[in-house]
């Protein structure tokens, strides 16, 4: 029974740790499917985390914080669009720039406004998203097997967790069952065909980037307002890049993205849980090895050893009408 409880606990923290990855990964899905590479996921998450925590603690409202996170994150996404869509700049260079501006400005503004060494004030109850207890969780808590799974694993998360997982079927529906999604995918594969059909490539890509901004904003808000009670500098700590890795791992598909993020979240949870304690058969695994595993797996996948990851064909190429 102890083993069972331990597994439930690891899976529970897997869910918590994979939520920001999942949101960022789905965010990347929109823009990359539309043919805009976005390595600025990290920066946009960071901006979202800062704006969310700052607004929540100033206005004493979690929802205002979330709104502000989304607004600021979308603003950064639009800068990316302005550079890479309107001015046909290099999308990767623009993404790198956004990551730096985000990393620097969150610390500078945080220090100037709150004077706590780049942190935002600790969020009070009501300023952050609280855990939701699903109906009946307490009642069946003592039922064996199902009880812990329902009351510990499924219940007791914040609304953003449920939102993140709801975004998976929603994204699938948008991309594969709506006109907008069809066009969005088309603009990532063959923008000239979309242009010929009389649809604006630029506007479509801008809309995709707005979707990206909204989702990275929520991902950031989750980090600073759910996982942590306030903003800490550089709190994304490479999650944007892991999300990017998960996106490649998922071969740019929403449901696969969820499983990839759960896998990477699980690795993270296991690394924390197993810190210092030896595994059966393998012996003691260094924490750093577990931390590096998502990156190693992605490189192996990219090399084509576990199936082939084929990116959207027009990805990374600015659209020029006259060519």
């Amino acid at each position: 029974m102890d083993v069972f409880i331990a597994i439930v606990q690891i899976l529970d923290s897997t869910i918590r740790l994979s939520v920001p990855l999942l949101l960022a990964c789905l965010a990347g899905l929109y823009s990359e499917r539309a043919g805009v590479f976005d390595i600025g996921l990290e920066g946009k998450m960071l901006v979202g985390a800062f704006a969310g925590a700052a607004a929540a603690s100033v206005f004493h409202s979690a929802f205002l914080g979330l709104g502000m996170a989304i607004v600021m994150s979308v603003a950064f996404a639009l800068v990316h669009g302005f550079a890479s869509i309107t001015h046909r700049g290099n999308q990767i260079v623009s993404g790198v720039a956004i990551n730096f501006v985000a990393a620097g400005s969150t610390i500078i503004l945080g220090q100037a406004w709150f004077q706590q060494g780049g942190r935002t004030p600790a969020l009070q109850p009501g300023e952050r998203f609280e855990a939701i207890t699903l109906p009946g969780a307490a009642a069946i808590h003592d039922v064996p097997i199902i009880g812990p799974i329902y009351s510990e694993l499924l219940s007791g998360h914040s609304i953003l967790v449920y939102l993140a997982f709801a975004m998976v079927p929603f994204t699938w529906w948008v991309l594969f069952r709506t006109r907008f999604g069809l066009r969005l995918r088309a603009v990532g594969e063959n923008p000239a065909a979309v242009d010929t059909a009389g649809i604006s490539v630029a506007w479509l890509r801008y809309r995709a980037l707005i979707c990206t901004g909204v989702l990275t904003g929520i991902a950031g808000a989750y980090l600073s307002m759910v996982q942590n009670g306030g903003f800490v500098k550089d709190m994304t700590a490479g999650k944007g890049y892991i999300a990017l890795a998960a996106l490649i791992f998922a071969k740019w598909r929403p449901v696969n993205a969820m499983f990839a993020c759960l896998l990477f979240g699980f690795l993270d949870a296991a690394a924390i849980r197993l810190q210092g304690s030896p595994l059966p058969l393998i012996g003691k695994v260094p924490v750093q090895f577990m931390q590096a595993l998502p990156y190693v797996l992605t490189v192996i996948l990219l090399a084509g050893f576990i199936g082939k990851a084929i990116p959207p064909r027009a990805g990374g190429v600015p659209y020029v009408k006259e060519r």
Binding site: N90, V93, V96, I98, F100, V101, L244
Partner: protein
């Protein structure tokens, strides 16, 4: 890659437009300073004075510049071949292993002038090998170099953290770093050059790596513009199709370019490790690999431009430290913002102001933008 823009006179192309882009980046940075509630002009004065006002400041500026020359050249060599090496950070970090092992092994037996060449070779070799894997994967298996080099940055960081908290750490010590090197792995300072001009220097880590960096800048110029290999790299960078048609081996050119790039990034390690800290510590690269991207873009991928841009960033780093001291609201992270803005305006938005400059030139003298010549032919 064909540019859809008309030609400008060379001085406008290489001087005016970068200057405009840079100014805009700094103006936007000025707004951030205002947002924080400080006076941007006073901040600029403190920054420049901190970097160049005293001998010590100049020495520190050039010390930082040395690091950025290496990483800037690293990014530029790859960029000439059409590859975006975002992994200079990881290549430099892991090269700390090569340099560190050489220093730890030889610092008690050899004098510095024998340890130094060995360390150069080790740093360059490890950096090049770390770049080899992404290069091979790009050339042979088609995995995107940007993504693989990002992944390799994280993998390098994990390996180095593992080694520095474990095997490389002296048993008696708590700090995650190697033991301090002995005199055999300490590079001589160059501070006396600045003192020749009458400035006083208290203590600064400005060392002979600066000369090595200048030599490497010259060699990169030689490579890119004066050798067959450099020509092939530029050809591949401009048009992979043309290069393939000309019989240039794609695999070979990608791998060579990335290995040179990785070697240059690896040599960056010498400056902080052997010239300043005299040990290998956690996170000693601290973003220099990423600064290299800004430096390379600002220097328009030319070694002379890169040296100048590196000095500018060295100034920002040194002046930024003084600024943080004078204006507590502005920490050194201001540099990260400026870096980002420079990458944005000199890199991604490189051509934003070009049409306006062209229109301006065309209205003054149509000949300068090539309009007249076409008319002349028609008549």
């Amino acid at each position: 890659m064909s540019t859809p823009y008309a030609k400008l006179p060379a001085w406008a192309d290489y001087g005016l437009i970068p200057l405009i882009n840079l100014s805009v980046a700094f103006i936007v940075a000025g707004f951030v300073v205002m947002l924080v509630g400080e006076n941007p002009f006073r901040a600029a004065v403190i920054l420049v004075e901190g970097a160049f006002g005293k001998g010590t400041g100049i020495a520190f500026t050039l010390f930082y510049a040395t690091t950025f020359i290496f990483t800037g050249l690293s990014v530029a060599v790859a960029a000439h071949c059409g590859l975006f090496n975002i992994g200079a950070e990881g290549q430099a970090y892991i090269a700390g292993l090569g340099v560190g092992v050489v220093c730890l092994a030889f610092d008690s037996v050899l004098p510095w002038w024998l340890t130094f060449p060995l360390a150069i070779a080790a740093g360059a070799a490890v950096g090049a090998l770390w770049a080899l894997i992404p290069a091979y994967l790009q050339a042979k298996r088609g995995s995107h170099i940007v993504i693989t080099t990002i992944m390799f940055n994280f993998i390098a960081a994990s390996i180095m953290v593992y080694l520095l908290v474990g095997p490389l750490k002296p048993a008696a010590s708590q700090a995650p770093q190697t033991r301090n090197f002995l005199a055999g792995a300490e590079l001589p300072k160059l501070n006396w050059i600045i003192e020749l001009f009458g400035a006083k220097i208290r203590s600064a880590p400005f060392n002979i790596c600066f000369l090595l960096a200048l030599v490497m800048a010259f060699l990169v110029w030689l490579l890119i513009w004066r050798t067959k290999l450099g020509y092939e790299m530029r050809t591949y960078g401009h048009s992979p199709k043309a290069a393939r048609y000309a019989g240039i081996s794609e695999t070979r050119i990608i791998i060579i370019a990335m290995m040179i790039s990785g070697a240059l990034a690896g040599m960056m390690t010498l400056n902080p490790v052997m010239g300043d800290q005299h040990n290998v510590a956690i996170d000693f690269v601290s973003g220099a690999g990423f600064v290299g991207i800004a430096v390379a873009l600002m220097g328009r991928l030319h070694p002379v431009g890169i040296v100048l841009a590196a000095i500018l960033f060295g100034m920002l780093y040194q002046g930024g430290a003084e600024l943080a001291f004078e204006m507590p609201a502005i920490s050194r992270d201001m540099i990260v913002i400026i870096q980002g803005l420079v990458i944005l305006f000199a890199g991604a938005l490189e051509h934003m102001f070009r049409p306006y400059v062209q229109a301006l030139f065309a209205s003054f003298s149509p000949r300068s933008v090539g309009i007249e010549a076409v008319k002349g032919k028609g008549a």
